[in-house]
């Protein structure tokens, strides 16, 4: 119901919707053309061929757009906390994290997801970049990425309850995930460790992409699943902690 209302609202303001949709498509296409042109000349990047690098880019987009589609509510959580209106949501028979995370579903992201999935599948299978077995493993790790993204967004909402700061934190997350547009092997070891254990961009995007290409070890699969589980556990604990400290100051 919440999603439906958000979708109706976005489609009703059609001019803005068209501009946002156009922007998303233009951004994707321009980056795609850039990557294609560059990789056409260099042939490999960090040991990956052109098709593999593009697959990394496509997986980045799939994860990123899916996360934006599902958890856009985070961007609208701060006014709820500042105004104290979040009280009303706490009274509803829903999980306390429902409104902060799922309170706004971006239908424009959903519209871009459909052609993106179609192109991704066509690109992967036609270039024989993955087989059905690897694709199945990818789907499991993709779901694990969404759980990890859920945990991270919930953590940011928790920080928002404590400090009312959210905008820059969520954009720091977005900028860090942007680092995984390219294979994260291009970064130095220290940066890779930060991207694995602090804001686990590697697990979010690089691990599913590598699983798809069949180059992920079983240790990688178990390790990434463990980190996702730990993030979820600590995020839920942290959320419980901050809810006890929610003061409803402005209401």
């Amino acid at each position: 119901m919440v999603s439906l209302r958000a979708a109706q609202s976005q489609l009703l303001t059609s001019w803005a919707g068209i501009l946002f949709l156009l922007g998303k498509i233009v951004r994707f296409l321009l980056f795609f053309i850039f990557l294609f042109t560059v990789l056409d000349s260099v042939k490999t990047l960090a040991g990956y061929n052109r098709e593999q690098v593009i697959l990394f880019f496509l997986v980045f987009n799939l994860v990123d757009v899916s996360v934006q589609f599902l958890f856009r509510g985070v961007y609208q959580f701060r006014p709820l906390v500042v105004s104290g209106n979040y009280d009303l949501d706490l009274l509803k028979p829903l999980p306390s994290f429902f409104r902060p995370l799922f309170g706004w579903t971006d239908i424009l992201d959903f519209i871009t997801l459909i052609p993106l999935w179609i192109y991704f599948l066509w690109f992967g299978f036609s270039n024989q970049l993955f087989n059905p077995g690897n694709f199945f493993l990818f789907l499991i790790l993709f779901a694990s990425s969404l759980i990890l993204a859920f945990a991270f967004h919930l953590f940011i909402c928790g920080v928002c309850v404590l400090t009312t700061e959210i905008d820059h934190l969520i954009w720091v997350y977005r900028d860090l995930t942007n680092m995984a547009k390219f294979p994260t092997d291009i970064y130095q070891r220290g940066i890779q460790l930060i991207l694995t254990f602090t804001i686990p961009v590697v697990i979010l995007i690089t691990v599913p992409a590598k699983a798809l290409m069949g180059i992920l070890s079983w240790q990688g699969i178990i390790g990434s699943s463990l980190i996702s589980g730990l993030f979820l556990f600590f995020s839920l604990k942290f959320w419980g902690y901050v809810l006890c400290r929610y003061t409803s100051a402005s209401s």
Partner: protein
């Protein structure tokens, strides 16, 4: 003049009040820089020249992007659109200040603070990675570069102002700004990668817009990859765009101010 100095001072104090916001903003800028930096380092890992750029030139281009983002694209006038929609503009137009100078004073402080931190951050990165930064050989290059940067600074200000004042007629100013002031601006200005690595058909389209004069051409001048005649041509075309956007901003502001209903106020 003193009142604009006071405005600049207030803007500076705002930054000091919301220090965490500023720190996180600088951190974000650093992440964007590092992403591009490592991407190009990986491209040049087994070659010294790529699509007409030496390794030092390309890395200088990436550093240049970060610096010009601070000097040219650093801005507070983006807030104007929101103030028009919220009605907060009413308070401002009652003040004895010119709107253009008001916003430019705020922009200036934003630019000064950002450039200060950018130089420190990039200096640290360059020292850590010990890579050779490209400095122009000819003295006149510094003059052409400086002149074009000043022109592009004003060009961006008026361009951004034009986008903001569309808020007088539409509620969708954020969508307009996102498309033209973020997506087109960042890709077409060369703020992600040099435009001349793109296919020639796309370059021709991009050169018809004002965006390449904001980042790409100043950096091409710095890298001494265009001739003196081409540099003069770039400065001339940038000046034409500047006059056009100055005129457009004036006209739109006058028409918009008459149209202003202060609905949110």
């Amino acid at each position: 003049m003193r009142k604009y100095f006071q405005l600049a001072k207030i803007t500076f104090e705002e930054y000091l009040t919301y220090r965490l916001n500023f720190v996180l903003w600088r951190f974000r800028s650093l992440i964007s820089f590092l992403t591009l930096f490592f991407f190009w380092l990986a491209i040049y890992s087994n070659r010294n020249e790529f699509l007409g750029y030496q390794k030092a030139q390309m890395l200088a281009y990436v550093v240049g992007i970060a610096i010009l983002r601070s000097i040219v694209l650093g801005s507070r006038s983006v807030d104007l659109g929101g103030q028009i929609r919220s009605g907060e503009l009413t308070r401002l137009i009652l003040w004895p200040v010119s709107m253009f100078t008001f916003w430019f004073s705020r922009d200036l402080i934003d630019k000064i603070l950002n450039i200060l931190f950018t130089v420190i951050e990039l200096g640290a990165v360059l020292i850590i990675f010990k890579f050779p930064f490209y400095f122009p050989q000819k003295p006149e290059t510094y003059f052409s570069f400086g002149l074009l940067v000043v022109l592009s600074l004003f060009l961006y200000f008026f361009l951004s102002f034009v986008i903001s004042v569309t808020a007088f007629w539409t509620e969708e100013v954020w969508a307009t700004r996102w498309l033209f002031g973020t997506i087109f601006l960042e890709f077409f200005s060369g703020a992600f990668f040099p435009i001349d690595v793109l296919p020639s058909w796309l370059q021709k389209i991009i050169y018809l817009t004002p965006f390449p004069y904001l980042v790409f051409f100043p950096l091409k001048i710095w890298l001494e990859q265009i001739s003196g005649i081409m540099a003069i041509r770039a400065i001339f075309i940038c000046s034409i765009w500047l006059v056009f956007f100055y005129w457009l901003a004036k006209i739109l502001w006058q028409k918009g101010a008459k149209n202003y209903g202060a609905y949110g106020g």
